[in-house]
């Protein structure tokens, strides 16, 4: 495998990892606060639709992005109402949200655009264009660094840079700010937070809302940056992979980056069976490669590669009075 192929593979990895990363960080905020979220998939899908739909209608991708984030937040709040206010089962709420998003997006798309659950293709200002970083061309000639800079670092949409910037930001928020301390505490022992005079409900809603914003970015990235429009079910299981990555990452921001990059790499390799063949000398079935992230997650969960301990109050509603 030559160097350029390698760089291109990594480039593809970055693109495929970005939605996973955003969704994974979304899940991280939510689950660190003790709200489990298997509805990442649905929120991402809703955001993908609404951002594309509003971008198509308004011609502005930024309005689309806002709409995507807003729709994802509505679903987040629904999850919040179910699991925080009404102490419902968080897993079931997540299942319901996934169904709801799958149905509603197509229903609304059909009602608005009559294109079989799609939005029209986005053109020009209605989609995020790749950004070419300064000197990408001139520096491209430098060996090793040049191609890396030109192919891998430059030339992504703004949301990719946002996603990657979110990693240190998330780390900083969680471990260096008051809000982060409280957020982590509420996922471990909400009673401690409550008796310390901080609102458990408020914190959890804040976490759920952040989760909504990040899922919104992930969805918008799918339909307005990676693609130029929405097609039904376009999240294609990425929410579940993000969830797997979250466990893989043991609920930590930097690990989340590594985990999603790893899963992104699997995705990229899946598109390049030739590379695998060149590297390992065997033809791997596409089907098996596609199942790899799931298999890996199971192996991680089995504790063969270090144990993943979820936030202690995770999945449990905070009930003071029985």
């Amino acid at each position: 495998m030559d160097f350029l192929t390698f760089v291109q593979l990594l480039d593809s990895t970055v693109r495929l990892a970005t939605p996973l990363l955003l969704a994974c960080l979304a899940g991280l905020f939510s689950e660190r606060a003790g709200i489990f979220d298997i509805g990442l998939e649905g929120k991402m899908l809703a955001a993908a639709f609404f951002s594309a739909a509003i971008a198509a209608l308004s011609g502005s991708v930024w309005l689309g992005l806002l709409a995507g984030i807003a729709s994802s937040m509505v679903f987040s709040l629904l999850h919040g109402v179910a699991s925080i206010t009404f102490r419902g089962n968080q897993l079931i709420s997540g299942v319901a949200i996934n169904f709801l998003a799958a149905g509603l997006t197509v229903l609304i798309a059909q009602d608005w655009f009559s294109q079989g659950g799609r939005t029209p293709s986005l053109m020009g200002g209605a989609r995020f264009e790749p950004i070419t970083l300064p000197f990408a061309e001139s520096l491209g000639a430098i060996p090793i660094f040049g191609p890396i800079y030109r192919e891998l670092i430059s030339g992504h949409s703004i949301l990719v840079y946002v996603a990657f910037a979110m990693v240190p930001l998330t780390w900083w928020i969680l471990f260096r700010t008051r809000f982060g301390l409280r957020l982590r505490a509420v996922g471990e022992n909400p009673a401690a937070v409550d008796t310390a005079g901080v609102s458990v409900v408020g914190l959890r809603y804040a976490a759920v809302i952040i989760c909504g914003v990040l899922c919104g970015l992930a969805g918008a990235y799918l339909s307005t940056a990676l693609q130029a429009g929405f097609v039904k079910d376009m999240s294609a299981g990425r929410g579940f992979i993000a969830l797997a990555a979250l466990i893989f990452a043991k609920w930590r921001p930097w690990y989340a980056l590594y985990a999603t990059l790893l899963f992104g790499l699997f995705g990229a390799l899946e598109t390049r069976p030739d590379v695998i063949e060149a590297l390992f000398g065997i033809r791997v079935q596409g089907a098996l490669l596609g199942a790899l992230p799931y298999v890996m997650t199971v192996i991680i969960l089995a504790g063969f590669v270090g144990k993943a301990i979820p936030p202690r109050a995770g999945g449990e509603p905070y009930v003071k009075e029985r």
């Binding site: 419902g88 199971v298 089995a302």
Partner: protein, 364 residues
């Protein structure tokens, strides 16, 4: 004392939740410019207005009965099995292998053999997540989700590359031999002088599903194994104290759960399609979660809930047949039912509890 009488908990809460889901669904129908009354009318006549409609409603209900029971049994052991989908998929593989490669002399024997195969395959697919939960504490919700995806990949590989008859375009197995075809409700009821629609797919599996209901009830409330399963589900420390092995109960409960999910395949694969197609399960595993929830994990409740969802499916199909309402509407309605009966049921329960408390205070 419990705040609410049992009937309120078991009937009133789900009923009000359902009504809420129905109201919201009606609003959705209105919003896309259709007439909800007309829609309900179509759904009811289409799903319940003829033996034909019932035949489909019961066919779908049979699927949901199995997956609902599967989720329920695991629930009683405190385990959340989201893997019904994958387990039913693998159950289908079991049925296909049994029907295609064993020369059965009679459908009864074929049914028996296929059931065993379906249960074994379903149980096997539940066994790994169960083992990981029992021995290594891996969260069963996540592992079962993962196994759904892995199952889909396995099935595709097997169907496309191994079991597809040569030259066939369909990623499906060959048709099962005639002898393995199961009698439909029409065939069963005819000797009794009841004329049931000949063309609906409901078949003898429905009877088996009813039997499974009774057996599950019997298992849970009449046998010591069921007693152990329920004890463990209520309190793990308690179970340990009583000498009930968490590992053994986790494994057994999940194996039974997986077997029940796998058994669904005798309905859809052996009873209806009479061959194994790629997407035979079609989300029934997930519907099973809603069914178990609504039925409060009691076999009888599961039966009612399964019939409700069967009605939704069949009524939805009729809607799609006679109106231009997109089929995704049914997905939305399902989602709302799951949301209200599952995740938001406290929204109904809390005010009700307050009401009953007030009534009780007044009495006192």
């Amino acid at each position: 004392m419990d705040v609410m009488p049992k009937w309120a908990e078991v009937i009133l809460v789900p009923l009000i939740s359902l009504v809420l889901a129905a109201v919201l669904s009606a609003i959705v129908i209105l919003a896309i410019g259709e007439d909800p009354v007309e829609a309900v009318n179509l759904m009811v006549t289409g799903a319940l207005g003829s033996t034909y409609g019932w035949g489909y409603t019961l066919y779908y209900a049979t699927n949901f009965l199995f997956t609902g029971l599967a989720v329920s049994v695991a629930f009683h052991a405190g385990l959340f099995n989201i893997g019904g989908e994958g387990q039913a998929m693998l159950g289908g593989l079991g049925v296909a292998l049994a029907c295609l490669f064993i020369p059965w002399p009679h459908w009864t024997l074929a049914l028996l053999g296929a059931s065993v195969a379906a249960a074994l395959f379903g149980a096997a697919w539940a066994a790994i997540p169960a083992f990981l939960q029992a021995k290594r504490g891996s969260h069963i919700v996540i592992t079962t989700i993962m196994f759904n995806f892995i199952g889909a990949a396995v099935l595709n590989y097997v169907l496309v590359n191994l079991m597809r008859p040569p030259g066939s375009m369909d990623p499906a197995t060959a048709r099962f031999p005639e002898v393995t075809h199961l009698p439909t409700l029409h065939d069963i009821l005819l000797p009794l002088g009841i004329s049931f629609s000949r063309s609906a797919p409901a078949n003898v599996t429905f009877v088996i599903a009813l039997l499974a209901c009774v057996l599950v009830w019997f298992l849970l409330w009449r046998t010591w194994l069921g007693y152990e399963i329920r004890s463990y589900g209520k309190s793990e420390p308690g179970a340990k104290y009583a000498g009930i092995s968490p590992v053994v109960i986790t494994m057994i409960a999940m194996l039974i759960s997986g077997a029940l999910a796998g058994l669904m395949a005798i309905n859809n694969v052996m009873g209806e399609a009479e061959r194994l197609v790629l997407n035979a399960v079609e989300g029934a595993g997930f519907i099973g979660i809603a069914v178990a929830l609504m039925g409060r994990s009691h076999p009888f409740g599961v039966l009612l809930a399964a019939i409700l969802f069967g009605f939704l499916y069949q009524g939805g199909a009729e809607l799609a047949l006679w109106t231009s309402i997109p089929r995704e509407l049914i997905v939305v309605i399902q989602a709302l039912v799951i949301l209200f009966t599952g995740a938001l049921d406290n929204m109904v329960r809390m005010p009700l509890e307050r009401l009953f408390l007030m009534l009780r205070r007044r009495e006192a």
